[in-house]
Symmetry: C2
Subunit: 253 residues, 2 copies
Amino acid sequence: MSEKPLILVTNDDGVLAPGIRFLIDVMKEIGEVVVVAPSSPQSAMGHAITINSTLSLEKLNIDKDLKAEYSCSGTPVDCVKIALSEILDRKPDLCVSGINHGSNSSINVIYSGTMSAAVEAGIEGIPAIGFSLLDFSWNAKFEHTKTYIKQITTEVLKNGLPKGVVLNVNLPKEEIKGIKICRQAKASWQESFDKRTSPHGKEYYWLSGEFVNQDAGEDTDEWALKHNYASIVPVQFDLTAYHAIQQLNDWEL
Amino acid sequence: MSEKPLILVTNDDGVLAPGIRFLIDVMKEIGEVVVVAPSSPQSAMGHAITINSTLSLEKLNIDKDLKAEYSCSGTPVDCVKIALSEILDRKPDLCVSGINHGSNSSINVIYSGTMSAAVEAGIEGIPAIGFSLLDFSWNAKFEHTKTYIKQITTEVLKNGLPKGVVLNVNLPKEEIKGIKICRQAKASWQESFDKRTSPHGKEYYWLSGEFVNQDAGEDTDEWALKHNYASIVPVQFDLTAYHAIQQLNDWEL
């Protein structure tokens, strides 16, 4: 690649989140950057898209060194779709999403707006990476992740990614010992709804819950992160459970 | 199973949609039914959950023959979570979602609120099936799907489902020739945004697009549906691309 690679940056915490501003700074050292990110926080939006209402774009000038920067009123997946269709004049060489404030390891990949944006780019044939930091705080520290993000990004640009695969990268909160290629740990959320009563007497609920890792494997993202490694899970969007097809063919259907 | 199975019914088109009312009627012939479905349409919400605002439940009495029926202000996945945590007194034997007004074949599984509800039940270890009809119309005809839905549901109750797998069932609009166990066709949406100007001079967009099937395989859901078969794709929520792990381990990381 003689020219600088064209990199689309998005996230789910919103265009002003410190995580995406840090990621933009790192990507500026690697390529030409276009940002299209949600105008407001869109955490846990999964692969939602906006079909029953309209979308708007706002041109921003937060960082003068970017090729273009927009906020979009929609979800992270909307941002990728509108960037590819209405903003970019060619397919980007890479899409990066994040850095998410908070983990997207294990089953969280499925709820994550950050990862859904990366998956959407992957569906469009664009190499894509979602980055998440194990720190929910708005004031989270990102500096220690820089060399790892640059290294992973450079390898993806150099090697490409297997067809139908995007990367889910989770980064420890502080010291990072290295990188492990992992599988998604088997885990789920143990829900607990916090039931309250409004001043007008109407009951309502806050969704809350506790993450439960049911997986003792040492090849999982949860294991890697617990031992201070950055985890990379290759993620696919062909959801077919191929191993189950034969079994279902034996049914009386 | 000596007692009647306990069946949780949900959807993404909302609790009043003809598709879920039809599915409820079929399930009443098989088991004891609890309905928890969105109070308003939630199509294309993917695996979104509500964490930045509150949820409310409303007890309904549309159908006197049900064990319980509620609408929930949230997404399809919220409905499953709140049903399991706040409404049901034991884990249901089955969760069915739909019948969706419109196809959820191929890559649409990823955007679909109908299928995300089934996946959420699957994560919780509950056998789950999403049903979708290839007709977007509110006045769609469902009667011809009944024997197929009963047959598939009965087989799932009899055999269970492989661990970590839920079923994505799509049903032809009219005549059904039989059932095929399929893989998810490789396809994507070719976006086209319809750009308009509001009466106040502000530009906005409607997301639109055309479905493009890039897959000529005869073992796909698209092939089956095109040839008037109902398609069943076993869907998994471990998104790890296992085949890519070795390749990534060869990188300089």
